[in-house]
Symmetry: C4
Subunit: 213 residues, 4 copies
Amino acid sequence: MTSTSRPQELHSGRFWREVLAEAVATLIFTGVVLGASAAPGPLVPALAGGLAAGTLSCALGAPQANPALTLALLCTHKLGALRGAAVLLAQCAGAVLAATAARLVSAAGTAGQALCWEIFATFQLALTTFASTNHESVPTGLALGCAIIAGALTGPFSGGSMNPARSLGPAIVTGIWDNHWVYWVGPVLGAVLAGLCYEFIFGPGASREKLCA
Amino acid sequence: MTSTSRPQELHSGRFWREVLAEAVATLIFTGVVLGASAAPGPLVPALAGGLAAGTLSCALGAPQANPALTLALLCTHKLGALRGAAVLLAQCAGAVLAATAARLVSAAGTAGQALCWEIFATFQLALTTFASTNHESVPTGLALGCAIIAGALTGPFSGGSMNPARSLGPAIVTGIWDNHWVYWVGPVLGAVLAGLCYEFIFGPGASREKLCA
Amino acid sequence: MTSTSRPQELHSGRFWREVLAEAVATLIFTGVVLGASAAPGPLVPALAGGLAAGTLSCALGAPQANPALTLALLCTHKLGALRGAAVLLAQCAGAVLAATAARLVSAAGTAGQALCWEIFATFQLALTTFASTNHESVPTGLALGCAIIAGALTGPFSGGSMNPARSLGPAIVTGIWDNHWVYWVGPVLGAVLAGLCYEFIFGPGASREKLCA
Amino acid sequence: MTSTSRPQELHSGRFWREVLAEAVATLIFTGVVLGASAAPGPLVPALAGGLAAGTLSCALGAPQANPALTLALLCTHKLGALRGAAVLLAQCAGAVLAATAARLVSAAGTAGQALCWEIFATFQLALTTFASTNHESVPTGLALGCAIIAGALTGPFSGGSMNPARSLGPAIVTGIWDNHWVYWVGPVLGAVLAGLCYEFIFGPGASREKLCA
């Protein structure tokens, strides 16, 4: 974080990647909180939102994902005006996108709704997985665990599975195969999307490529 | 922590900053526990208090925020008498201030009450954020997540939002704008206040300045 | 993780140990989620699954335990085709085994059911304990704590005890000794099994032996 | 941990300190689980027990506090027979002591019961605090937070306060002073006891003294 903010920043790949990370982080945070708010009481959305924000902070290079924090960094001259304005717009856009998508999805049928939430929950889990590929330490395991808890609390019906094998086992044993494809297509789509995002946009290799280009 | 306690300590900026940190930490801890006690059962206040205390310990340089711990450190000669007495007074003052504020706020209207709790919850979140600006490691992400969970469990009605974007998204989609200003003014005031506190009082730069002065 | 996948991999002890780790990790994850799903609400299975996955990631060398993540790693060329296929099969086999065992166990009597869940819960706890024997740092303590929470939430009746002493104390005081042998035989069997698995298959010493052979 | 076990171990201060740590850790773990079992559902005792075990592992040098784990270490020759037997006896003694104390306390009046649980909850919190005095890192803060959550979930009526200031604030504001002395005497006794235990038995300085003697 630098306190300078010059127009030439706009030509930097790193600048736009940080702005995009803010939009994606706010989108995921808002989506997780909205998805978890179907449960009664304050505990489930609080846990889901906090754990998602904590792991996103690891996966996406510590975005603020919060206009209040961004404005406080602006006030204390830790963030330039141009970057601050771009970040604020990105955060609001991410949150509005998440709320719009959640509203649209709630009008879909049960299978469509489950599919969308599976894609979303697995996307945030896989982003954390890709970001932690190079570390095998204990905190990484805890970060993955947090992402799984956050994803499993998301979704208005029964929480995210995010794992085709976990759905396959009970399906074989009980013989109940209704909408089973959802738990393969959703998680795989979400994870592949997250892998591509990380490789081409947020990962360290991607950043070096873009900085050289 | 030193076992000596001499009158000249009273002229040290570091001494008073530590005493102030104890008052602020006890104020936040007591406020979070009181705010979370509206939920039924012991789980929500226990989680909120523990997570707030854990993150405050990172943000404010490991205050005890607890007269029992301070007295135990005094008994084992890990803390001088003068410093111990100042710390004990600061802790009691912080807790009384928190309880008084919580009582006064509960007499305000719904919007005023929500505004005050948003300021408070975002203050503790932003303090953690500023303290962890220089680290981008996994534990920092977990500390931020803990501060968000603690804040989201605080407040007697629906928990803290602490995030204007998270409130903006659903407001645009649902068209419900009642008291929406609260979720901008509260978090921004709380975060800016925390930023100023950290920069001028608790941050490492601030400490060096004060030690030199 | 390498992007090459050659037939001679099939002769490597390390290859098969990784495939086995995927099967065991998916078996444990699926078993914990199924065992915790008896509780009402989404919170208990989400916490149990996430905490188990987080600690397994430390104990077994960061397996994916999830076909969606494995397919995403395949798509981004982080995993070879041969290894990816073996891992996918292992994950599905582990999950089907866990679901079958859970179904079979639910037909046993109360004591048999408790015995099986005690073996299972203590197995995953002891695997984490053995993997963390060489570290005495704070994150290790948290990993152990997570494994205990995950195990204690598992099992359809009253959660896992995983600890004969914890069951002995109340039995002596209350004089209720019904099925007390379950809480000695189950945890001891599970822990010894985990110890042997770790020493001969997953531990660093075991890997060196197998690589040399 | 060594695989040898010779009679001369019995003259080593380190040997007996490890055995005592096993007894104390099993006592605290069993006490926390029993104290938290008054809450409905499996979540509260699981969280309290796991978090207490995780932080005890940091504070007391990674005791097993579990006969099943000790027997598994014996079977894999990671622990000698003499040490293993002493540790097993210590664990059972600790658990029986905890269960007996919990039974005796439940016969006391409300104030006496609250006093005993406050002493116990603050003892385990203060032990963690003393053990982490030398570290100011993020994991330490999380360990303290875990100890506070575990303690706050303990005790059959309203959870542990463990903090006189937190009880003083509401008492001044509401004017309700019934049994207020309990929340000063209990936590202070528990914390001082923990401080003395740590300084004279479990701390690194204490260990050096005993090894030299």
